[in-house]
Symmetry: C2
Subunit: 199 residues, 2 copies
DNA sequence: GTTTTCCCATGACAAATGTCCTGGTTCCAC
DNA sequence: GTGGAACCAGGACATTTGTCATGGGAAAAC
């Protein structure tokens, strides 16, 4: 019996996946949560063989929990809406055993779970190619911070205050990020970075 | 037997919903599509009693299809990830019989379908309140266009070219939109408008 | 037939943004 | 211990953005 836990914030999707997986003879859903913060605690409690993690979760990204779950002997299958190369890269670097996009048919899911438990690694081939061509993030830590803060339309002064920096420094980081992403302003830069999973 | 069609772009969600609804004794899933353009054609073919429509679909928003389905005698239940007041408003004004957010448990879905078929209207109370307090969109048609074009970080010159306007006109529309939304720049204005479902 | 609203457009101005330069610090790698 | 990279900061400058005043045309409302 394969013990599975599910971390997914959309209630309807979470329930549906749990019900469907529960119908498989060799799979048992032992825990569910919609909260990123709760993942590790729930896993410690339920001791699953494998965890199904969404990337975008309230509280804490599923990606942040991968390494720790791995250390606890739990295999991780990352499940996401967005096919972002940087997500795949981070998931794999943290030791995830598989990366699945929610676009595919449900049958893929149970199959992927079985293959992961059997020791295989699962990756969408098209996405893997994209991750390789896009390369790793060219951004430095601070550039990342500044872009993330710029994403919602904050002015330079706001960003500076939020990060405890001078306005000059913020503008320098922004300019560098715009240059590296070959975009024309902070917004394009921030959105490109987000879409590549660099934030 | 209630004949249901599903328009939803996430394959896994679509399959899962179809399977779950198919397990109900009185519900039969007669058609599925992941393409907004295809909704009307599929509905004509399958002649469902009720259509489950996602808002964000490739090709065409589910909201655009509501009025026409309604005219064809098909009840519409709008199902969306995002609880945006403007979506609810538009759905209801186009004649949708219900509006459900994907956050809730799956049991809600079958129940909502039965109630809609019985002639009731289904609305999330919290969301209805938000829609009422937020009021209708204050934006004029052109302001809407300009904000939508600004959403991805385009410069004034780009927007002007895209909409065949002068740069001055674009700046005037943007300024008006910023004023109406009580935001501080085009980005905040565009994001607020998007989050309210005004685009 | 007048008022209102929306649309388009200009010009002028202040403010914010993006670029480039300089120069300082720390930390790591070779 | 030297070079490189990341970090912080300031100043100067051109460009872009946002605001405001003004005015004309079209359509709908009264």
């Amino acid at each position: 019996m394969i013990r599975v836990m599910i971390a997914e914030d959309q209630g309807m999707m979470r329930d549906a996946l749990a019900l469907l997986l529960g119908m498989e003879d060799d799979i048992e859903v032992v825990a569910q949560t919609g909260d990123g913060e709760a993942i590790l605690g729930v896993a410690r409690e339920a001791r699953p063989d494998i965890a199904l993690l969404d990337v975008e979760l309230p509280g804490r990204s599923g990606l942040d929990a991968v390494a720790e779950l791995r250390r606890g002997g739990v295999a991780v299958l990352v499940l996401t809406t967005f096919a972002r190369p940087g997500y795949l890269r981070r998931a794999m670097e943290s030791g995830a055993a598989g990366f699945l996009v929610k676009d595919g048919p449900v049958e893929e899911l149970a199959a992927a779970i079985r293959r992961v438990v059997a020791g295989e690694r699962i990756v969408d081939p098209a996405l893997a190619a994209a991750a390789l061509t896009a390369g790793p993030s060219p951004l430095t830590g601070r550039e990342r911070d500044v872009l993330a803060a710029a994403l919602d339309g904050a002015a330079v002064a706001d960003i500076a205050a939020r990060l405890h920096l001078s306005e000059s420094t913020v503008r320098n980081h922004l300019s560098a990020a715009i240059g590296k992403t070959r975009t024309r302003n902070r917004i394009e830069a921030a959105q490109l970075a987000r879409d590549n999973g660099w934030l």
